[in-house]
Symmetry: C2
Subunit: 419 residues, 2 copies
């Protein structure tokens, strides 16, 4: 038995092993169109977790799972009282999404633990790679990271979006007991911090020809349900002027919402991702149209202004067609600030390694924004080809994955040296 070595800046990851992991994982939940569907708690997600647990065990790491289904591999410090540095992301995907979103962050973390274990590096902290449950929100966005942060309780009650019966059944099937999710909370005193590597899902890194994006903040986000109410009447016999067609109001709202965003809030992002029409029959004038609208902005106050402007616009559009409209904010996430010191460490490591980087804002939500509420958190992005994500065409060059993983390893080593 050789004695643990000092941390070293000369370690490198085993890129072939990481690539093999990526390939194996990308086969779980593969769709006919070449995308990935690993919806949280689905068969495919459970298969990916089982595969991940095997990889952790094969690497001789400690497998841990918690009461919200987060699954970790741990490389323990010799100091049993040490705090834990988390490296994480998620293995779940949106329907027919890409192979990189989330997966790369988890696999990079695993590869770093394996590299450190093989080199028998003595760490002053426990190092834990963690896969968070349902980051993408198939059931409830950030269910896993919220559970770990102890933020799940009120959120779960507020969330009127999901069919709780089906959600509960899915949780039970995955071995998660709804009544026990509180116990997933980790004491912040036991945590040193949280690091996350993720694909950018935008194209600013590619355009700036940067290797790395160092995230300074994650935008705030509010999700609304707007429901326009008109009157269901026979589509052939109700004269056009007399109709109270909920869909006409909703359609104008969608169009004007995008126009307003472009004109008045050019820094905001908005999306209407779903429309539900009642009664939904070709020969009946729509009486009820529900829209799911998501607003994002990097500035908390601007986000609030943007939201109230959009709510007012919905009312204006409804009035125009003699409809009523209800606006319900169903999700809100504050702007999340990344930890300055950890962020600076990423910057220092980029400069040392000669990686081209830029500081940037994350427009997508990430587990890091939840973790930042309880522990110093920081995040890096690697380039996404043409910015395409949540799509089978999502792609990141392998050399960029290598650089990102290497930077993460160097940062862990640097933290180990100075902790």
């Amino acid at each position: 038995v050789k004695s643990p070595s000092k941390p070293t800046q000369h370690l490198t990851i085993n890129t072939k092993r990481l690539y093999a992991d990526f390939q194996a994982l990308a086969n779980i939940g593969k769709t006919l169109t070449g995308g990935i569907s690993r919806l949280a708690l689905s068969n495919e997600d459970l298969e990916a977790r089982a595969w991940f647990a095997n990889q952790i065990e094969d690497a001789g790491l400690f497998v841990r799972d918690d009461e919200v289904g987060n699954l970790s591999g741990i490389l323990f410090s010799a100091n049993r009282d040490a705090k834990t540095l988390l490296i994480g992301s998620h293995l779940d995907t949106v329907p027919n999404g890409g192979a990189y979103d989330g997966a790369i962050g988890v696999l990079a973390g695993l590869e770093i633990l394996r590299t450190l274990k093989e080199a028998d590096v003595a760490l002053p902290f426990h190092l834990e790679v963690i896969n968070f449950t349902d980051e993408e929100g198939w059931w409830q966005s950030f269910f896993g990271s919220m559970g770990l942060a102890g933020l799940l309780d009120t959120e779960q009650q507020r969330n009127e979006r999901q069919d709780n019966g089906a959600f509960r059944a899915a949780l039970y099937r995955a071995g998660i007991r709804p009544a026990e999710v509180d116990r997933a909370r980790r004491d912040p005193e036991t945590l040193l911090g949280y690091l996350e590597l993720h694909i950018e899902q935008g194209e600013s890194l590619q355009q700036a020809q940067c290797d790395i994006g160092v995230v300074t903040r994650v935008v705030g986000r509010s999700t609304y349900t707007f429901t326009f109410y008109g009157e269901a009447t026979h589509a052939a016999t109700t004269i056009m002027d007399k109709r109270r067609d909920a869909l006409q109001g909703a359609a104008v709202f969608i169009t004007q919402m995008h126009g307003l965003t472009q004109d008045e809030f050019p820094d905001a992002f908005v999306n209407c991702g779903n429309v539900h029409v009642q009664p939904g029959t070709f020969n009946v004038v729509p009486s009820e149209v529900s829209l799911r609208v998501e607003c994002r902005h990097e500035d908390e106050e601007a986000l609030a202004n943007f939201e109230s402007r959009i709510v007012r616009l919905a009312q204006e559009c409804a009035a125009q067609y003699r409809l009523s409209v209800s606006s319900q904010r169903i999700i809100h996430r504050d702007v999340a600030l990344m930890d300055d010191r950890l962020t600076q460490r990423f910057v220092d490591m980029c400069e040392q390694a000669g990686y081209r980087y830029q500081k940037m804002v994350s427009f997508a939500g990430h587990d890091a924004q939840i973790l930042s509420k309880i522990t110093p958190s920081a995040m890096i992005f690697i380039p996404s080809h043409e910015g395409i994500s949540h799509n089978p065409r999502e792609f990141t060059e392998w050399r960029d994955i290598e650089k990102g993983t290497d930077l993460l390893l160097k940062t862990v080593l640097s933290l180990a040296e100075t902790s």
Copy 2:
């Protein structure tokens, strides 16, 4: 046994019995909001048929059902070789529709047969009240009347709308064998004609203070599926200008389609009754949006122009957002002309009875338009309160129902005298 009497103009219907029938039927499929859901081939529809069969039997009429599920009561002529005069409509409804649409026509027919039978009127034709299967198109519009007209075969193959598996199962459950629907065809030589009483479902009779609308034609109708194709990308990270958001194209199309109709085709009716968004998640830019659009016009050529203008508009809207669009005409029904002589008979009877009437076009589709392809057909409307239909608030004054039924009876008697 008294000998059959001559037809007489002095017969009157039993309005209490008709009202009791109406009340009993309105309890089958009643919804929590006071509407009626008797979707074709549903439990409620089957219950309504069973009730109707009982009423026919209780009246001492002959029960007949055919290979497409049409259910009839027959009062036979003493002349076994006589032709058959049909009086019909439908007992099925749209989801949460009203109690009058279709039902009144069938019940009025039944009441007329009972009245004639009680009075022992000798008829020179067989008189048959018929309930047609799926007039509303829950599975396939006019399934029953098309079957009777022998028009079902090619139509069924063309129809890509329904889930044929579920439809077939529903047919089997109702005792209809898909392979045998051809046998429902009636030889036109055996038919004298077809009469239908229906609520107007518009408000022109009410506004003109008329008792009766004598229908001269039923508008032509085309139903399209438009599918806009964009690209599913992450809603937070794809910059607004780079999006190919299928829903933005679809929303502009809906708005402009209504504007175009108002400006260029004021006599046309158009409705977009359903929208389906893929992938339908709040944080993914919509990649695929399907719309169901229905166009109606009383003039065949104008309808064709209107359709091609709307198809072009869809292409223009798609191009505006860098989308593609497919346009598929899934249903087309020609403008249907009612029989001049039968129509004139209705007019004559209105004048004799002192009923205020107007000639009019039907914008809604009715079984009469299908029957008109194989036998002389005619149709009358009675007023709909405020024109509301396909809605729990659908309402027709009882005195209007009485007048309509009386007119239908008088017309049958008049035809009997002159046949």
